[in-house]
């Protein structure tokens, strides 16, 4: 009797244990995904929705009962009577175009050249992406050594007396040059990694066919690199939309250095707290970035499925 029941009982226990473990495992999985997801929803997605909702209101940020529904008033005000808005849009666009035309293309060029067998290639790579580890705020500090009116290197060399960070006609360009110093290495790094994945036989085949190096690059390498090119484009757009640190540290985004990101911030921690108005500016930022985030996710997920 005992010999017959014992295995049966143990089998039952095993099944029970398995079942219990199954439930526990499911709970563990739920917690492993649930806790991080809740954190992101709490600090990113709910605030994003709240920004949209607040953008249709007027609120000085004190009592919740002080929230007043104003419809699209904030948006109308922004485009019609808010003086820094259009300069900010213009500066953001200049920022984007500049980053794209100079440091991005330059970074790609460097990557293509450094992709070759070249003595000291590692040293050059290190030199170019060294600024990538520095914060933009610090980059602003370091470039003060060049831009300072009375103690800066540029004015000392050329005998000029220009306030590179202060003059509203040129400070945007000074800031962009400093940004480019850091941006170039970043793009170079991403592009190098991409180039490394290009099949060497493609290049050889092109060389055998007698295609010149320039031709090979434009007709063979560039098409193969399409996904990377798109990623780089999205990075440039998002980076130029996010640009903030450098202008904030120079003059809190005024006087020639208006950027949308700085305008949003000014409306919250500046002299006036205009939450509704600031939110409307934030939503404008969000809409522009959403388009590019969607492009980015599409590329990434196509790879994911493929």
């Amino acid at each position: 009797m005992a010999t017959v029941t014992a295995p049966r009982r143990s089998r039952r226990t095993v099944r029970r244990v398995e079942k219990r473990q199954g439930t526990r495992d499911r709970l563990v999985v739920a917690a492993m995904v649930g806790i991080p997801t809740l954190l992101v929803i709490w600090l990113v997605w709910l605030p994003a929705l709240a920004s949209v909702a607040l953008s249709f209101t007027k609120w000085n940020g004190f009592k919740l009962s002080g929230i007043e529904w104003v419809g699209t008033q904030n948006y109308t005000d922004i485009v019609t009577i808010y003086p820094p808005f259009w300069p900010a849009i213009q500066n953001n666009v200049i920022w984007l175009v500049f980053l794209f035309v100079f440091p991005t293309i330059f970074g790609i060029l460097l990557a293509v050249i450094l992709d070759r067998e070249m003595r000291g290639s590692r040293f050059y790579q290190t030199a170019f992406y060294l600024p990538v580890v520095l914060s933009m705020a610090l980059v602003g500090f370091i470039w003060q050594l060049f831009y300072s009116t009375d103690q800066g290197l540029i004015n000392a060399v050329f005998g000029t007396n220009i306030d590179w960070y202060g003059d509203p006609d040129i400070n945007l360009w000074s800031v962009l040059v400093a940004t480019a110093w850091r941006h170039t290495g970043y793009i170079m790094l991403i592009y190098l990694a991409g180039l490394k994945g290009v099949d060497a036989s493609l290049r050889e085949a092109a060389a055998v066919d007698g295609a010149s190096e320039v031709k090979t690059f434009f007709h063979v390498i560039l098409p193969v690199m399409r996904p990377i090119n798109m990623i780089v484009l999205v990075i440039v757009v998002i980076e130029s939309l996010r640009a903030f640190d450098l202008v904030w540290i120079i003059n809190k985004g005024r006087n020639g250095l208006e950027l949308i990101s700085a305008l949003v911030t000014q409306n919250v921690i500046g002299e006036a707290t205009r939450y509704g108005f600031g939110s409307a500016l934030a939503v404008i930022m969000m809409i522009i970035s959403t388009v590019f985030i969607a492009i980015y996710l599409r590329i990434v997920f196509r790879e994911e499925r493929g």
Binding site: L130, L138, L195, I228
Partner: protein
């Protein structure tokens, strides 16, 4: 991206290490020209940092009388001055107290999500990844107002925050940085985990290992290279984070070093040599990380963009 289509099964770090000429050899003459141009450009790129280093050792009155293009006037006073006037000890400590927990939390939480994404196939996997990844790309300013207001209303006991609210506390910065950085880390880690052979989980399952054990004792040791790369990258990013610290911390003594630069600007910009010394001090932690863990830094950065 194309990296993945040609060599899908290679683990990420192998591909992302520092590059060594896959693009073929150049002709000799062209090679010499290219080398000369590259050398010039590389020195140009290093110049701002070298110039800071050079001037950080020079005396203010010496450079005032002899001009900046002179040579000499050596002193260490700038460092001492910058350190005490900028209160760098305090701010570096604040940075440490924010960066270390934030990086640990980010890696812990994102590795859990990544594990579930890589180990189990659910219908909502892609959506979930999208939720995290998009959060990583949104401009933080777009979320400022609700986050700011919310943190001001959340009370914390005084032993956690002297101000009594989330605002002005390190907790706020740790959580915000974690929430924003998780997307990137989840993405990189789940891709890395997908390269692990599935059989190890089958045999672990047979041995009756729980999901938690499969995660903590089986998967985590295997993804150590990816964790190291991400940790390096996240330390520099969170140390460099400027925006959230600037808006969420208004008390000067609570600021981490990168945002503290904003307050130092007024008193430092009068004396460029002081700016130089301050910059070198602030750059030093990330430069050390960079030179010691260069390989990890580079592979972390490229893993995300080219999807290892």
């Amino acid at each position: 991206m194309s990296a993945t289509t040609t060599t899908p099964s290679t683990p990420a770090t192998a591909k992302a290490s520092v590059h060594t000429g896959a693009g073929g050899v150049m002709s000799k003459r062209r090679g010499t020209v290219a080398t000369a141009v590259m050398l010039f450009l590389a020195l140009l790129w290093l110049f701002p940092l070298l110039w800071s280093l050079y001037n950080s050792f020079r005396d203010y009155s010496y450079t005032q009388t002899n001009g900046y293009l002179s040579f000499g006037g050596w002193t260490l006073d700038n460092y001492q001055n910058a350190w005490s006037r900028g209160n760098f000890g305090l701010h570096l400590k604040n940075s440490l107290l924010i960066t270390v927990p934030a990086v640990a939390l980010t890696l812990f939480l994102s590795s859990m999500v990544a594990f579930v994404l890589a180990r189990f196939s659910y219908r909502f996997n892609l959506t979930l990844l999208g939720v995290f990844l998009a959060a990583n790309l949104l401009p933080p300013q777009a979320l400022l107002i609700p986050v700011f207001k919310m943190f001001r209303e959340i009370p914390l006991p005084t032993f956690m925050s002297e101000s009594g609210t989330m605002l002005n506390s390190f907790w706020a910065l740790i959580l915000v940085n974690t929430a924003f950085q998780m997307g990137f880390c989840t993405f990189v880690l789940s891709n890395y985990m997908k390269t692990l052979p599935y059989e190890i989980y089958e045999s672990a399952q047979m041995d009756g290992a729980s999901v938690w054990r499969q995660y903590w004792q089986l998967t985590m040791p295997l993804v150590r290279p990816a964790l190291a790369a991400l940790a390096t990258l996240q330390v520099t990013w969170i140390y460099n984070e400027f925006f959230w610290a600037t808006v969420l911390i208004s008390r000067g003594d609570k600021l981490p070093i990168t945002s503290a630069l904003n307050n130092l600007r007024g008193q430092f910009f009068q004396d460029t040599n002081l700016v130089a010394a301050g910059s070198i001090i602030v750059a030093l932690p990330v430069l050390i990380v960079f030179f010691v863990l260069q390989k990890q830094f580079v592979s972390g950065l490229t893993m995300g963009s080219t999807k290892g």
